[in-house]
Subunit: 173 residues, 2 copies
């Protein structure tokens, strides 16, 4: 569990990064920034700050804010309700993000991961501002920001965070 | 038909507006900016400049760039392939956009429209930076930028521009 102070500090830091990138939010959106620590209580290392713009049965759009070297742990979006699972496109707006998916592993990855983490896919894609990558449904992926942090727009089908399947059994979403 | 010079000028103007708003594009995306005059050859008045980030069978995301007072003519997105038609969320990133949909008409609208145009819905929503509005499928809508132009992110289901139903029979998309 994060303390109230940690949550507030993370939310304010994310709001500051978005403002500096010229991404306008309403006051209500700033107040609603989600701080996800994935149940690990190590937010600096593993976590995401999220602004959900829209999430209907058909379409979802978000901004993901990552602090320097913060990572989102490996997961996949399985099929549900007869549909093939969430399809998502990550578009980097600011900073750099290292994205890892199934495929040929890179010998010298840019990411630095905790020793006790569960990371099985190491095909690396480096996304700078204006770069993007589409993750098919039910495909394992994880990502980490570079040394300056990152802002990533996510365009996807419906988000159902409760259905995400994480590789690390300790993760709680 | 627009001349090659008009297309190039519009594309460069749109790229400049996006750059000033801090929205990073790749060189290939700048080269691929779509300039739509809706077949009317009056781009300053009726037109859109469009960057398509992604458009799969399930998800579409774009930036729409509108020059000062430029308008997108009234249209709806009808059902196709057994689905209910395109659902789209407009999120204003910069400038102001006046959006008109079905519903209670406003007595003194902010928009200025050509006399020979076809505009039957006048329920007004004003979107500034950080404001957004979701248009249900098959719902008539049109919009115009304010005096400084506007940049609008569109998050939607699949775009099939060829299926859009415009109110003005002269419009060609």
């Amino acid at each position: 569990m994060l303390t109230r102070e940690e949550l507030t500090a993370a939310s304010e830091q994310a709001a500051g990064m978005l403002a500096r990138a010229g991404i306008a939010l309403t006051e209500a959106e700033v107040d609603a920034i989600e701080v996800a620590d994935f149940g690990l209580s190590r937010l600096e290392e593993t976590g995401l700050q999220i602004v959900v713009y829209v999430n209907t049965e058909r379409v979802c759009a978000k901004e993901l804010v990552l602090f320097p070297r913060q990572l989102c742990p490996a997961h996949r979006h399985p099929p549900f309700d007869g549909a093939p699972g969430k399809e998502e496109t990550f578009r980097c707006r600011a900073g750099v993000v290292y994205l890892y998916t199934e495929g040929e592993p890179i010998p010298q990855p840019e990411a630095r991961v905790p020793r006790d983490g569960v990371f099985t896919v190491w095909h690396e894609t480096v996304l700078g501002p204006g770069d993007q990558y589409t993750i098919p449904p039910d495909t394992l992926h994880w990502f980490q920001a570079g040394d300056e942090g990152a802002i990533v727009s996510e365009f996807s089908t419906q988000s159902r965070d409760d259905l995400d399947a994480f590789s690390d059994p300790r993760v709680q979403r």
